[in-house]
Symmetry: C2
Subunit: 554 residues, 2 copies
């Protein structure tokens, strides 16, 4: 892997830097491109009706011959969720650890593309060669098992990419993060470190996942006479393992509820990432055969998602479980920013049904806090620092930490999605910009909802719509029928008959004036209708419904 | 105030118990009603297009002859915001402390009803007589000056209502909470205590407002060479006072920006609730005449509100102030639940412009934590406890605190809005329910947007609308024009020409079949149009736009 010329390594993040989610980064050297992660993000509040958001991969499609494969660091949606959409346009092999591939396989099966795509399981410590790159998978810890950091060996030097990580000296399953290997690679000399910034604003160290197990034991010991319901993230297999362990210790049967939870636990069990003692798991149908104090439910809905199992239980619309006074409900999670209110709502509903809700002490983060970030930097000692995975403020917080460690200010790079960041041992800088952005997925439509449609949805959501229909005689432009006004989402018509009547009068007289003046251009007629109605409605209601004139000709 | 018969006191909360906001409670004894507070709440996420929400006062209108007046505990929107709307339907005198009346006056002036409404300023320690009630105003501390608790003397006993409060032994302006008087009244014997629950989940004591002043001094000392911009709640006059004090100490000029901030500071200055040293305040136009490090901006927008001054500065659309690299921006606030993401967005924007954002240490809550709640209960020692001001979970948290203090479980009442809670020295219970609820205000419309309109707006927001227009010949039902499809917020038509073409074909053939069969009922024709289009669109896109068939007849 000697460098034969002046070529540089290009690092091109195509997403993930402006928000949490949609992580995808291309590494390019001459005719080789590898892509690290391929995640989705969830829609912002103003993306009305949108289901999910995926990255624009125009740049990869334009260079499809160079693309050697996707390297996936771990199995969270913000790192794998765009794969089915992206692979349909750019089929390429996938490389990841066993559990990650298991979760991806399930996803590809759902999208009916499993057979077309080559997947290869890589073990921690193993390397793969793709084009001019060698990629080594390094064991890390995170809130999902089998997470990896990557050492990417390129002709101009080594780039270490942490993926999402924390340092857990006492993990629930498998080994602790391979700090020795980080040190060993660091000793070789690392060109650049791309490090998780999510918790860079938080001082100290993230607690071990194992502390949550202790918290469960304490809660179970204090609640021996009630049913226990625990909501957590479906993908946190270690968390589920600990709940099962506590349940087993306290002689309770376990029910798993919620589709995504059941899926992941099936995959994890099949692949050996979770050990369930015999006869501990029971079907939800069997629940009635056990006394409450002998059962635990593990469920989705820890983020207050309205359709998740816990929310349905709270609202008494779950088919099989109702909340009873005395139930103990544990949120083993923190609200993801934006979900605080939805979570509060579910807590209120649960409390009203008489449940005791426990919201503290049964969760730890999966991301490295400041001291862990310092540890990784101190092991890797890169020349350049590229904070990743986080909003701008998180990455800036990492930048501050890194500068404290003595890395020079000008060697820390706060990139933006689409930046072409070129580097070698002598210099590093942004040299260009490629197409990038967010593609909106709504139902089956990928990219067919853009700004105009979103703006219309916002307008409709705000004040509704008034439709004015009108049939004109061909040639003479005489009004044969209408104008009729139909409205939706504007005002409850029965409450506002007078207003609608008046509106119709305003409309008719402005239309009359317009036609009397011999205006025959439909555009101008529609404009007149729109302006006069809009002005009237604003004066009367201080609202601006969308006004849509439709003219038919007979 | 002797009790002559078996009449009981009725406490009827008409809002404020299911959410933060919309506080309003009626106290009724025989032919006297007094109303404590009259607040608005801000719309929930699913109340699309709604500006604000006010309580349903049907019960008060039905008993309008009994209503003696409104007693207002303090000048926050969730306690005064519904007054202009409610007073229009039920004009009655208002009683409150000086600053509170000042803020209400400004509001009534904006709504053009100042002259019709009698307002009376009451001092702390004073009482007023209304019908069979005597109401004493007791000094408390809160995040707005001049907050009051109330001792309501009724023929069956004393009810103490804390309003929103905290215990601040070292307030910035005026006196500390009048704990002696709480004790004195408690000694007389108190029937019921209605106590603020907002922070009942939090252990310990809320810090004094004065600690924030020290934080400002520290931040000012550490940022001597940059401009300082501080966002806080417009109504927190003491906070503004402390910023002005720090500015004065560090020889900086102060600019106040944001309409609501300017209004409140004007009122507070006029009434003597804020002292501004000479020549400290400058106009925003003068800002350019001073070096950055000699200025401080106090601004609205601490909740990430998109139209507030700080947000506009962050997005570079503020007419007079742009964020510059090196600016220090302090959030002297906590995000109100639901605003977390909006606040993060503004912080990211500010960081991207190069500002240093300080988000910690420059804020304290205005509500009592658990130890303060215990203190008030221990002074007042009521027979009955009615936790108020908080979501269900907060009130349940207070209930737990109160039970720990030895008040019997069955004497703690978690009421719901609309409950008629009857009490006297012998017993207390909910005996009935009155009409209550949320009236939505949208523009000038009060109550004309209800569930149907909201559901339509949600439907429109989710997937947009497809309108099918059709002109039929009167009598023959022959299609003279159309069917034409017009859509908004569904899909960008230029991207989906094929889909719309196909949809039209589907529509035409189902319509043909329907008319060939001699169907002449418009309802059935519309049903056919709707079903066939809806099925086609769902199959093709997995979306469910609103489908609105409109038939005209010529």
């Amino acid at each position: 892997m000697k460098k034969a010329n002046n070529s540089k390594l290009k690092i091109i993040p195509l997403g993930g830097l402006e928000q949490i989610g949609m992580n995808i980064t291309a590494f390019e050297y001459e005719d080789s491109i590898i892509v690290v992660d391929c995640g989705l993000s969830f829609p912002e509040d103003d993306m009305l009706g949108i289901d999910l958001v995926i990255p624009d991969i125009t740049y990869l499609k334009e260079n499809r011959d160079k693309v050697k494969g996707f390297i996936i660091t771990h199995g969270h949606e913000d790192h794998i969720g765009a794969l089915p959409y992206v692979l349909k346009e750019l089929p390429a092999p996938i490389y990841a650890t066993k559990l990650t591939i298991g979760i991806i396989d399930h996803k590809l099966k759902e999208h009916n593309i499993l057979k077309q795509i080559k997947r290869k399981v890589v073990k921690h410590g193993q390397s793969i060669n793709l084009g001019c790159f060698r990629i080594e998978f390094i064991k890390t810890n995170h809130s999902i098992a089998d997470a990896s950091a990557l050492a990417i060996y390129s002709p101009v030097g080594i780039v270490v990419h942490t993926g999402d990580f924390k340092v857990d000296y006492t993990p629930v399953f498998g080994d602790a993060i391979d700090l020795q290997r980080f040190g060993e690679i660091g000793k070789k000399g690392v060109l650049a470190l791309m490090c998780d910034s999510t918790n860079a604003e938080r001082p100290g160290f993230t607690m071990s996942e194992k502390t949550v197990g202790k918290a469960f034991d304490n809660i179970f010991a204090e609640h021996k006479n009630t049913r226990i319901i625990i909501a957590t993230f479906a993908s946190n297999v270690d968390r589920v393992q600990q709940i099962i362990n506590s349940a087993y210790r306290f002689d309770r049967k376990v029910v798993v509820e919620g589709r995504s939870m059941v899926n992941i636990i099936n995959i994890a069990t099949e692949l050996g990432y979770i050990q369930i003692p015999d006869k501990t798991l029971i079907d939800i149908e069997q629940l009635k055969n056990y006394p409450d104090e002998k059962t635990v439910l593990i469920t989705t809905g820890s983020q207050g998602e309205s359709m998740a199992a816990l929310s349905r239980m709270a609202l008494d619309i779950h088919k099989k479980v109702s909340i009873k006074p005395g139930d103990t409900v544990i949120f083993s999670s923190n609200p993801i920013p934006g979900n605080e209110k939805a979570v509060s709502k579910v807590i209120n509903e649960l409390s009203m049904k008489g449940a005791e809700v426990i919201f503290q002490d049964a969760h730890v983060s999966g991301h490295a806090c400041r001291e862990e970030i310092k540890l990784i930097y101190s092991l890797v000692r890169p020349k350049y620092s590229i904070p990743i995975h986080g909003e701008y403020k998180h990455r800036i917080a990492q930048k501050r930490v890194v500068e404290d460690l003595g890395i020079e200010k000008e060697n820390v790079f706060i990139l933006a999605s689409g930046d072409v960041f070129e580097l070698d041992e002598n210099q590093a800088k942004v040299t260009g910009k490629v197409k990038n952005g967010a593609i909106l997925v709504d139902g089956l439509g990928v990219g067919d909802v853009g700004n105009i449609v979103l703006r219309d949805r916002q307008h409709l959501a705000e004040d509704g719509i008034m439709i004015v229909v009108l049939t004109l005689e061909r040639g003479s432009n005489q009004v044969l029928a209408g104008p009729d006004i139909v409205s939706r989402g504007f005002v409850y018509v029965r409450e506002a008959e007078g207003l609608m009547e008046e509106a119709k009068n305003v409309l008719e007289s402005s239309l009359d004036r317009c036609l009397e003046q011999g205006v025959s251009d439909w555009g101008r007629i529609k404009g007149t209708v729109k302006d006069s109605l809009s002005e009237f409605i604003w004066k009367k209601t201080k609202r601006r419904p969308m006004i849509l004139p439709i003219i038919m000709e007979v």
